[in-house]
Each structure stands twice: as structure tokens, then as C-alpha cells.
């Protein structure tokens, strides 16, 4: 809402309050003033001149030689405007003046003729061309005759004004009009406001003889009022009105249209004018449109309506989409003489839906959507009538023809006045609270502890005691309210076990050299379906209106996003990449719109294992680099004993270098190399990834720590080298050794894997270091031998292992 500082002074004395101070105060009491515009900023030396004579330039067809009276002297000015004429009063930029864009006016010679200044168009005085009335759009501005010759022209062009731009939120719709702003500023400054009741000199003829009104959708149209006016002469509106409309960001059109816009800006009540001669009947019927009913609106567009849209009709066909836009068939034109003026109240939600569906948001519809002063509708009709009598020679027929209730009762709120102090933590006296509410022009009645507040209809946003708490708080200023610490129950808080472990995981990942990434949950449909730890073959969850195909579906895996991160770095000559992310993946559930959400940990590594240094080039990462990361993680979290790895084939992964990660036999993740084809397509080097359903892994927190005393007896270490077929997995040997070593075998460590000339071509040798230990005594060789031999023979039986000689 653009608020003219000058216009506001019609209603309230702003003496001693600069526009900046006013803006600060308005902002600090709840409506942000986004900025202040000074439309005359930088202009100087512009005076009112009178064109005494206007002759053709002898050398140039399109130029005029004007003798212009500037009050103190008459000078010659060369003017190229087509609309310049003798007798006009015009804005003149004198020699030495500054006009828009800081252009300085100098004495000049134009085709041999001296020009002592410039007669200005509104554009040259800094007006936005979009708001310049069309009569001045292609030439100079022309004043009305009341303006004194020689005077500073700026005040007569409202260029001494300051325009405050108020950011109106849902709760401040009462300030979408000048009177509402006046009430607000009155409360803030604690100054009275003066409003004039419109006076309409009606004719004797009854409007009801010309028109009748009925409403077929009473729920949606609480009030519909119509005035009839005859004998109108359509012409430009007066200068002051045009300039105020321009200040408010509305282009002046003609007196009839401008008056309805002006009254909307002043009262907040949208009005509509029909050319009564084109109306087609003497009856207004407001009803829902029929399904597929059509109307051509003012902008020439054919609109298809639905049975949810409110339509103003002449009883047969539509003449306006209620509250949104008038129909072309009844539009006021330059020939219009008789006008039907509508002042109505429509349901905000209905208007909102229609405006949204037709994509026709206007100043009127947005006021209907956000709410009106229900008690101002007839006053607005009167104000328009008053102005049209004055500025359009209107004869206004007697009475408003109406349907519905013209006014509503004020809303009453009862509450203990102390509640305001209780909620704010303030210590206002009763009189202070009452005083602030009265500044807002609310009526207050206190009996004992209870306060009854009568809230005017213009403050439709104030309905419950908490709203009054806010009114008192904001007008008084929250700065004056103390800062305290809560006195209530003191409570202890800590991270949940899962939150705690998640932080540990982050620390471990960072410690192992992986940086943390945050990527988007929404991705392309294709990438949303790939790399899931467990893909059930259901379509990924998709949003209805994606902003782009790139962010259309919910990821089931973090890996595709990390591949993007890797690509990003590779494209920027950063080939050594180690990233991880912890975040939600969204797993579609059959028959449900909502996916299951699981927090996963994923990682990607590629490039050198460590930074290159003076000792030579470090190795590049391989499968065991990434496996080492997850193993270290599982060790640190105390779950390693429950984890196994098994070879697996996954879409997009290297078929020989990928393993599922199992927790107690259930797949909770995978590790491996990206498929060479994927690497090629993405322009990646050899790249390894992992993803773990960390939430299911750690949902129950960590296992409790069990303390064992330090060993008092020595342990015995035996190394063993076993020759097996190459197809035998290390994990299988490890398992058989462990199974057969209990309870004395305490640890197993694979320390060598050999394939080569010393064993058969299809065989390999694996060497383990086995540690035997008994907490109660020192083991004898014989005792160890018994277990050790059992292990060897089990390996031989189950896996065909032979002791290497």
C-alpha cells in the first residue's frame, strides 16, 4: 500500500513528524514501511508559467516559439510538444533548473532561436510513464487555471510529497486504505483524526424506480448496494485527484473510473460502475455462475466460469465477475451518461478462489480477499456520489437500492484486563491499558477485573483476547517490555541416544577425511529410483507441481546426489574427493501417498588416498579404502560383531566389487565401486560409494559398555597359513576359525593373502594370526594345540583348506 504523506494530512495533523519518523513509528508498531519515495527529489527551478503566445518556429515544422510568463519576466521558450497552446498554464524548467535524472536546463539555441528553459512533460518531471494520464502522455502537462503564475510548480504537482510503501500482511488489511492508515497513525501518535461524513445532494427521483436488486447467494453476498446517477459528463478527473491516484500507483483514466478508484483507496471499499444504458435491464441479480457460463471481461478476455464463481447479472446475462472484474458489455466509456454504481460485500474466500482461478488479482479483489470494514460500504457509495456530483456533473437519484444488511454490530471481547500483563510479562496499570485501547478508537468498559472491549468492524482482525494483548503490546512498544527468564518448571534436557550417536558418526566421518555434504531431497525421477539400498520396484514419490524436472521426485538414496557432488569437483580440477551425507531417504510404500522416511549415511570417495607429498605419489583409493571406512565406523559404534558382508550385484555398481552390508543377516547397506559404464557416463575416475541405513542400525542406541579387568595371564599367539581354492572367501575362513576356536580363541587377524607361483594356479594362501587366552590362568602348549588342531581340521573339512608347508 502506497501512502501519500500529504494525503494523510487530510485526516490527521502530522505536524512535527517527518516522513522518516512516521515510517519508523509505523514499522515499529507492526506494519513494515519498506521504503519512502520522494517523488520530487532532485527537482529544482520548476515554476508555473503561462504561455502568452505560441507561434510556429520559422525553421522547424514541429517546434513552437512560445512567450512564457514566469511571473517576474516573460521569456521565449522553444517547445516541441504537439499540445502546447497559448493561454495554457504549464510547468516550466527555468534556466539553471534540474529536472528528472538530474538533467540541468541551460539556455539553448534551437534551429537559430533562443530557448530560455523548457516546458515540461510529466515524464520529464520524474513521473512513471505508466501512470501518466493519456491526455498528457504525448506532450507537456497543462495545469488548471487556479494555479498562480510564477509559483513553485512542485506543490501543485504533488512533488513535495513523500510516499510510504507499507507492506500489508494478512493481519494488517485494515491499513489497505487511507482512513485505516489514519486510524493506525492516530493510535501510534496518540493524536485525534478527523473524518468528514460525505454529503450527497440527492435528486427527488427515487433510485428504486430505476433499479431493483436481489441476491441469490446470500451466504456469499452479505450486502449489495446500488446507486443510480444520471447526466454524467465523462472527462478527466481534477488535478488533485489524478495526482493522488498517481501517488498511490493508479493511472488516472476518467472522472467516473477515477472516483471509484479514489474511494477504494480512501475507504478500502471496492466500487464498480456500470454504463446503465448498456445494462440491459432494470434489475441486478447476484448469483452463482452456471457451469461453463461465459463472460467477456473489461480486458477483452472471454472467461469461462464455474458454479463456484459469483456473477453479477442483469437477470439474464452476466455483467461482471463479482469483486474481480467488470464485463465489457457494460463498461463506462467516454459517451456514458447514466451510471449504476455498485458497493457490495462479497465473501473473501469465494473472491479469492475466483481471482486465483481466472488469474485476475486486482486492487479490488485483493481487498475483498483480505477483508473490508463491513460498516463502511454505504459510506463509500455516498462518498463516490458526492465526488461524481462535484466532478462529473452527476445527478444522483435518491437512496441506495440494496439487499442484505448495511451494517453489522461491533464485536465484543470480554477478558480479565490483567491477562494482558500476564501474557506480556508487563506491569501496566489498568488506566494505561484502557488508554492504549482507546487510542485505537476501541470502546472499553471495565468492571472489576473484567474488561469489555467493543471492536469496530474496520478491525475485523481483532477477535480474541490475545488480539487485544497484541494491540496493547505493539502500540506501547515491545521495547518497553522487560526481558525475563522463565520461572516455570526447570527441566533437564539432553540429546536422545540416536542424536548422540549421529553426532559421533559425523565426527568419525570427518576424522576419516570425509567432508560433510548437504544435498537436495528432490531430484529427477530417474535418479530418485536409483541406488536405493532396497528398491521394492515402486515408483518414487513425486510432487504434483515440480519447479523443474530436476527436482520432481523424492530420493530413495543419497548416492546419486553425491555422484553429482563428485562430478562438480572433478569438473573443477579437484579429482580427490571424499564426502559423506547423513539425511533422509524416502521409500515409497505401496498403497500410501506418504513414503517411509529413513535416515541414511552415504559416502563417496575417489582419487588419491592421501594428499600428494614429497615422498611420492600416494596410492589411489580402492574397494578396501571404502570398506575400511565403514568397518572403522562399525567398530567405533560397537556393532562390528553383528555385521557381515556378502558379494552382491546392484544396478549401477561394479558386479565384482560390490558387497551388501548385513546387520544380523538383514541388508542395511552396501559398499562398492561404481560400474565402469556409470563412471564413463559421468566422466568420473574410479569411484567408490557406500550407503548405510544408519537409523535402523542405531535406532536403539549403542550397546552398554561392559568392563573387563586387565588380563593377569599372558596370551598365546599362533600363526597359521591355509591354502584354499581362490573361490573361498576370507570371511568364510574367518567364520570357521572363530566358530571352532571358542572359548579360548580371542582374536583372529588376517595378515597375508598370497596368490602366485608357490601355490597352485586356482589356489591362494591366507595367513591368520590367532590369539588364545584364558582370563583365569596361563594356557599350556597342549591346551592350545588341542584347539588349534580342531580349527585346522574344521577348515580342511568345511573349506578344503590345507596347512601350507
Amino acid at each position: 500500500m502506497l501512502v501519500s504523506y500529504n494525503w494523510l494530512q487530510d485526516y490527521i495533523d502530522l505536524g512535527g513528524v517527518t516522513p522518516e519518523e512516521l515510517a519508523d513509528k509505523i514499522t515499529n508498531s507492526g506494519i513494515e514501511v519498506e521504503h519512502i519515495v520522494y517523488p520530487g527529489e532532485g527537482l529544482k527551478g520548476i515554476v508555473v508559467g503561462k504561455v502568452e503566445s505560441c507561434a510556429q518556429h520559422p525553421e522547424a515544422e514541429k517546434l513552437h516559439l512560445c512567450q512564457v510568463n514566469l511571473g517576474t519576466e516573460t521569456v521565449q521558450i522553444v517547445c516541441g510538444a504537439p499540445n502546447v497552446a497559448a493561454g495554457q498554464k504549464v510547468p516550466v524548467a527555468t534556466v539553471g533548473a534540474r529536472i528528472a535524472n538530474n538533467v540541468k536546463i541551460k539556455r539553448a539555441k534551437l534551429r537559430g532561436e533562443i530557448s530560455n528553459g523548457m516546458i515540461c512533460s510529466l515524464d520529464e518531471l520524474g513521473f512513471d510513464h505508466n501512470f501518466v494520464p493519456k491526455e498528457y502522455a504525448d506532450g507537456i502537462y497543462v495545469f488548471d487555471d487556479e494555479v498562480p503564475v510564477g509559483a513553485d510548480a512542485l506543490p501543485y504537482l504533488n512533488l513535495d510529497d513523500a510516499i510510504l510503501d507499507l507492506d500489508i500482511l494478512v493481519n494488517s488489511a485494515h491499513c489497505m486504505n487511507m482512513i485505516g492508515v489514519a486510524y493506525e497513525v492516530g493510535a501510534i501518535l496518540d493524536r485525534p483524526i478527523q473524518l468528514k461524513k460525505p454529503v450527497v445532494a440527492e435528486s427527488d427521483q427515487l433510485a428504486s424506480e430505476k433499479i431493483s436488486v436481489s441476491v441469490d447467494a446470500e451466504q456469499m453476498v452479505p450486502y449489495y448496494g446500488a446507486r443510480v446517477m444520471n447526466g454524467i459528463k465523462v472527462a478527466p478527473a481534477p488535478r488533485w485527484m489524478q495526482l493522488r491516484l498517481i501517488a498511490a500507483g493508479v493511472r488516472p483514466i476518467s472522472n467516473v473510473v477515477d472516483v471509484s478508484n479514489y474511494v477504494m483507496l480512501e475507504y478500502g471499499q471496492p466500487l464498480h460502475t456500470f454504463d446503465f444504458d448498456q445494462f440491459g435491464s432494470n434489475h441486478v441479480l447476484v448469483r452463482f455462475a452456471g457451469d461453463h457460463e461465459e463472460i467477456t471481461t473489461l480486458d477483452g478476455q472471454l472467461r469461462k466460469l464455474t458454479d463456484e464463481d459469483l456473477l453479477i447479472t442483469n437477470g439474464k446475462k452476466g455483467v461482471a465477475v463479482a469483486g474481480v472484474m467488470g464485463g465489457e458489455n457494460t463498461e463506462v466509456s467516454s459517451d456514458t451518461e447514466n451510471v449504476l454504481l455498485e458497493a457490495a460485500v462479497f465473501d473473501p474466500i469465494s473472491i479469492r478462489k475466483t481471482a486465483a482461478r481466472l488469474q485476475l488479482r486486482s486492487d479490488a479483489s485483493s481487498r475483498y480477499e483480505k477483508g473490508l470494514d463491513r460498516n463502511r460500504v454505504a459510506l463509500a457509495a455516498d462518498r463516490a456520489a458526492e465526488l461524481l456530483i462535484q466532478y462529473a456533473h452527476a445527478t444522483v437519484l435518491k437512496g441506495i437500492v440494496e439487499a442484505g444488511e448495511r451494517t453489522v454490530a461491533e464485536h465484543q471481547i470480554m477478558m480479565p484486563w490483567q491477562k494482558i500483563n500476564q501474557v506480556l510479562g508487563s506491569e501496566f496499570a489498568r488506566e494505561q491499558i484502557v488508554g492504549i485501547l482507546e487510542r485505537l478508537n476501541f470502546k472499553v468498559n471495565v468492571e472489576g477485573e473484567i474488561m469489555q472491549v467493543s471492536v469496530p468492524a474496520r478491525r475485523f482482525d481483532v477477535t480474541i483476547p490475545e488480539d487485544l494483548v497484541e494491540e496493547v503490546g505493539r502500540i506501547y512498544g515491545y521495547n518497553h517490555i522487560p526481558a525475563t527468564l522463565p520461572e516455570g518448571t526447570s527441566s533437564h534436557a539432553s540429546l536422545t541416544p540416536y542424536q548422540k550417536i549421529r553426532r559421533r558418526v559425523e565426527g568419525l566421518m570427518n576424522g576419516m577425511g570425509l567432508s560433510q555434504a548437504y544435498t537436495y531431497s528432490l531430484t529427477s525421477k530417474e535418479s530418485a529410483s536409483s541406488y536405493a539400498v532396497s528398491n521394492k520396484g515402486i515408483e518414487p514419490t513425486q510432487v504434483i507441481w515440480p519447479m523443474s524436472e530436476e527436482h520432481a521426485a523424492l530420493r530413495q538414496s543419497i548416492v546419486p546426489q553425491l555422484i553429482n557432488v563428485a562430478q562438480y569437483h572433478l569438473n573443477r580440477q579437484m579429482p580427490d574427493i571424499k564426502f559423506y551425507e547423513i539425511g533422509k531417504v524416502f521409500l515409497p510404500v505401496k498403497g500410501e501417498a506418504r513414503p517411509a522416511e529413513e535416515e541414511h549415511l552415504a559416502g563417496i570417495i575417489t582419487g588419491k588416498r592421501t594428499e600428494r607429498n614429497w615422498e611420492g605419489d600416494p596410492d589411489t583409493v580402492d574397494f578396501f579404502s571404502v570398506k575400511g571406512i565403514v568397518e572403522t565406523l562399525f567398530d567405533s559404534l560397537g556393532v562390528a560383531n553383528h555385521i557381515t558382508y556378502s558379494p552382491s550385484k546392484r544396478e549401477g555398481m561394479h558386479p565384482g566389487q560390490t558387497a551388501d552390508i548385513l546387520l544380523n543377516g538383514e541388508v542395511i547397506g552396501y559398499i562398492g565401486a561404481l560400474h565402469p559404464r556409470v563412471q564413463k557416463n559421468c566422466g568420473l575416475n574410479e569411484t567408490f560409494v557406500f550407503e548405510v541405513a544408519i537409523e535402523s542400525l542405531l535406532r536403539h542406541g549403542e550397546a552398554a559398555i561392559e568392563y573387563h579387568g586387565l588380563p593377569r595371564f599372558p596370551s598365546t599367539t599362533r600363526d597359521i597359513a591355509l591354502v584354499v581354492k581362490r573361490t573361498v572367501a576370507a570371511a568364510d575362513l574367518d567364520r570357521v576359525i572363530r566358530e571352532n576356536g571358542t572359548p579360548l580363541l580371542k582374536s583372529v587377524q588376517l595378515f597375508d593373502v598370497y596368490e602366485g607361483s608357490h601355490v597352485a594356479a586356482d589356489e591362494k594362501s591366507m595367513a591368520f594370526s590367532l590369539v588364545y587366552f584364558d582370563p583365569e590362568r596361563t594356557l599350556t602348549d597342549d591346551e592350545v594345540n588341542v584347539v588349534h588342531e580342531k580349527i585346522v581340521s574344521a577348515c580342511a573339512e568345511q573349506l578344503g583348506a590345507e596347512l601350507r608347508g
Binding site: 513494515e32 505493539r474 522463565p486 520461572e487 527441566s491 531431497s521 562438480y568
Partner: protein
Amino acid sequence: MLKEKLLELREQALSNIGSADGLKALQEAQIRFLGKKGPITEVMKSMGKLSAEERPIVGQLANEVRKLIAAKIEEKKADLEAKLLELKLEHEKIDVTLPGRKIATGSPHLLASIIQEVEDLFIGLGFSIEEGPEVEQDYYNFEALNLPKDHPARDMQDSFYITDEILMRTHTSPVQAHTLEKHKGVGPVKVICPGKVYRRDNDDATHSHQFMQIEGLYVDHNVRLSDLKGILTVFAKHMFGADREIRLRPSFFPFTEPSVEMDISCFRCGGHGCNVCKGTGWIEILGAGMVHPNVLRMSGFDPSEYTGFAFGMGPERIAMLKYGIEDIRHFYTDDIRFLKQFDRA
């Protein structure tokens, strides 16, 4: 006679030891003079031939010579060893200015660091951390927060809907509603809720279709706006410096009444006005307010018994302000050159 021999042996030995140029020569000298078959042992053996008066004198002399030679050998040995060590150390000298073998650590994400800092502060103030689903029901995202279906502050176009009733949450506030419901009308409820949220925006320098939010909620008997002010003051000083001041400006959110916006005094200029605070001396940090009675009621709390405050902030905004980061997309591009700068944050 023996006495002269001993004195001569002493001279010979000392000269031999003195001229030994290595541990090997020294060892030979030791064997030669002190060995079981050495000359001094010989002298000792032949002492039986001496008279009773002479024997103790020669015996004593022999012992003295033996001790002296042994001591000299030890002395020489220590001397030689020290020289050897010196040589060895000289040989082992390295360029200590060469870089060491570092263990390259990764960087935590700046947003994670900021969220953790806020979490830790509020845990200290007795708030626990609640998380909730990112795909929400319309009811929890809007209706339970006093945003009924036709509320003007609601715009379908601003949200990623999955069906008419399911959407990507547009704020972390639904976690408030879930948490209140869980408490079944009994306070206190004291939580902060960090998490990802989604808005139907085009990504540019200041907009992101996905971003983080941290929401706080405190509901109890007699919770006051002044308490909100107190808690937010603690927050502002903790995050932005001990000499920060705050101010509350009235604002509007459907789920709070009254609603406020919190500004902090500019940490760059201290309030005199600069480009960070756009000349105002104040920087807008977060939105807050007293929980709307409808919100309490819908989640099972009696607004005549309980009041509460809520606040919500954007970690991206905090980070951008604090470090002068110019583009919100940096947080989601994960450029390591960006992340590394904040690994101490």
C-alpha cells in the same frame, strides 16, 4: 723385580689404551692386559715366589694397576662411544622443515555446525531436540497451526504437494504440533526442532527450494512474552557476541498471537549503520511470538491454563549474515573450497 714389571706393564697399557682408535682396538687392549692369560694375571700367579713381606706390597700394586687399567679402558670406551654417537647423530640429521604426514580430516558442513551450536545452547537451557517427518500431512503443516484450508496466508503454489493432503513440509512448525499432541495436554513442553523444509521457489542467490529451519517451543503455566525476550537475548548474545542487543517488532504469523520479529544490533558496525544492516543498525534474525490459543487447543492444551512461546530461524540466513556469504546455493553445492573455510565454525 715384579714390581718393575708391573710398573712397566702399567705404562705399556696406558699408552696402548690412549692410542686405541676404536672400540675394537680397545677391546684387544683389554684382553691383552686384563685377560685370564694376560701379563697381570701372570704376575699374580708368580707371587708365590715372593717373601712374606713383599707379597702384600706387590699384590696391592698388582690390584691397583689392574683397577687403573680397567678404569682407563672404561673411560676410553665412554669417550669412543660418545664420538661414535656424535657421528651417528650427524648422519641422522634431517630437514625438519619438510612437511609431515598429515592425517587429512574432512570438514563438517557449516549448516551442521550452526545447528549444533544452537542445539547445544538450548539443551543447556533445558530444551530437548525433536525431529519430525519431512513429508507431512496438510493437517500438521497448516491446519493444526491455525492455517485452515482457506486461509489467505496459504498458497498451494508455494508448496510441493504430493497429494491434496500430503506435502513436503514448508516449515518445521508441524513438529510443534506433533510434540504438543504427544504431551496430551500436560506441560511443560520445551523443545527445539531443526530440520529441512521445502518451498516452491526457483533457486537463486537468495532463494532455495530446500533450506533448514530451527524452531523452538516452550509451553507451560505462565510463560510470558518477556520470557521469550529473555531467551532470545541469551540466544543473540551466544550466537552473535556478548554486546548484542535485541529488539522485538510486531509482526504476523498465523500460529502466534502476538507475533514479533527479532532484530539484533548489527554485529558489524555495532549499530551505527553499515551495508550489512543496510544502514539501520539492526539486522532481522528470526520470527517469534506467543503460541496462538487455537494452536494450543487443537493440540490438546487448554489455553486458559497454558501459554507458550515459539520462535523460528533460518540457519542459512544466520550463516550468511555471520560470514557475509552472498549466495544461498553454496550450502547445497558442497564445493569443498567453500566448506573448508568453515571447518572451525
